[in-house]
């Protein structure tokens, strides 16, 4: 059992460098560039990324691998999933 970790909370205001984001997602920069070219994530000025990109890119990776999607397919699936989430919220369903 391990305790008392060095812990931080990352959110939309936390910015990460590209190499840090690559390591955090377990992917290479070519893959992230490809995702950027399809608008899956958008860098802030200075090629820095919001830490919530980790979640979006990891989801992109899971969808890509589970359904053998190409990048357009990943981008479309993510957009549609976002839309479903917005609609669900409007339905007031948990």
């Amino acid at each position: 059992m391990v305790q008392d970790h060095d812990m931080d909370i990352l959110d939309a205001t936390t910015l990460m460098e590209l190499d840090e984001l690559c390591r955090a997602c377990g992917v290479d920069s070519a893959w992230i560039n490809e995702m950027m070219a399809h608008g899956v994530v958008e860098p802030q000025p200075g090629m820095r990324f919001s830490a919530v990109s980790i979640i979006r890119l990891r989801k992109a990776r899971r969808l890509e691998q589970a359904f053998s999607l190409n990048t357009s397919g990943v981008a479309l699936a993510l957009d549609l999933l976002d839309e479903i989430e917005r609609l669900r919220a409007r339905l007031h369903q948990p």
Binding site: V2, I9, L10, C25, G26, I55, R58
Partner: protein, 321 residues
């Protein structure tokens, strides 16, 4: 350990062709993938489906699995036959690579790499005996916490399987339990970074970090959107019409809320600062649901009849005609 009937999981015949298996898997994966299906239980089903496909879509693994015979039932107590060759090296499928913790004990016993790595694999030192330093890989996992933890702060245990280097320099997969502090004000969609809890470094380099995606478990009452909370509040028609002071549950204890007179269904009242206690706390949005009492007694019918007589009310006035 429990026997897994992989054919039953995918809903295919034992004689199914590779194409039939692929098709059945794709259909089930689309339905139960946890990024798509948010129902509780979807993730567990997806893991079962994924594991079944991992075995049945690989001719080598499928053949070995078929050799066990068809006499076992799903969930039946199972031991591998004494002649099972544990040193057989099964391929890891390239595309759909699942994390090791995604597979059952049954799978690990028959096809897992863990025991083989322990038996033989050895992390190779750098070429030509040169010392070689490399930072450990970062690891990722999801942590699902009850909404209430974000109000009280909490400590949760998280079990995960991580690569480690043992005394003999071998990389092994090890189950590890982490105590994770859930700070007050944590919001779904944030990421907890635990420094040094990722993969081990090589040659004395630092270990990687562990990134935890935070999700809230579904709550029976409250819905979170960022730090804003939503609650559907049932009210009686007269409370909505006449106004009322009502008791409203919040994750930090009940509050009294004023329902203004002439409130329509769906009206949203805001309890400021009663959302998630982030640095700038969110609000609690209370959405009114008007609930009609049943006209199931003589007295109730009489009251409805009196309203029908005395109120000049046409709910369909806006429909025209």
């Amino acid at each position: 350990m429990d026997y897994k009937d992989y054919y039953k999981t995918l809903g295919v015949d034992r004689k199914a062709t590779a194409d039939e298996i692929k098709q059945a898997f794709r259909k089930l994966a689309r339905k139960y993938h946890p990024d798509i299906n948010k129902e509780p239980g979807a993730e567990a089903t997806f893991k079962d489906v994924n594991e079944a496909n991992e075995v049945l879509s690989d001719p080598e693994k499928r053949k070995a699995y078929d050799e066990l015979g068809s006499s076992f039932a799903q969930g039946q107590n199972f031991r591998p036959p004494p002649d099972w060759d544990h040193t057989r090296d099964f391929h890891q499928s390239a595309g759909r690579r699942a994390a090791p913790e995604d597979f059952s004990d049954f799978f690990e016993e028959l096809f897992g790499q863990q025991r083989r790595q322990q038996a033989g694999g050895r992390a190779q030192p750098g070429a030509g005996g040169q010392s070689f330093r490399m930072r450990g890989e970062d690891a990722q996992a999801r942590i699902i916490v009850p909404l209430r933890d974000s109000f009280t702060g909490a400590e949760r245990q998280l079990s995960l399987r991580v690569p480690e280097v043992d005394g003999a320099g071998q990389v092994i997969q090890r189950d590890k339990t982490l105590n994770v502090k859930i700070p007050r004000g944590l919001v779904a969609g944030q990421v907890i970074r635990l420094k040094g809890q990722g993969g081990p470094g090589l040659g004395g380099a630092a270990a990687g970090d562990l990134y935890l995606e935070v999700e809230f478990a579904p709550d029976p009452l409250f819905r979170a959107e960022g730090k804003e909370l939503y609650l559907d509040l049932p009210v009686a028609p007269w409370e909505a019409a006449l106004g009322a002071q009502v008791r409203v549950p919040t994750p930090s204890g009940p509050i009294m809320l004023k329902v203004p007179p002439n409130s329509a269904p769906g009206r949203e009242l805001r309890a400021k600062g009663r959302g998630i206690p982030a640095k700038e706390p969110g609000d609690l949005h209370v959405v009114l649901k008007i609930v009609l009492p049943a006209a199931d007694t003589a007295r109730a019918r009489e009251l409805y009849e009196q309203m029908a007589r005395d109120l000049a009310f046409d709910p369909r006035a806006g429909l025209g005609g």
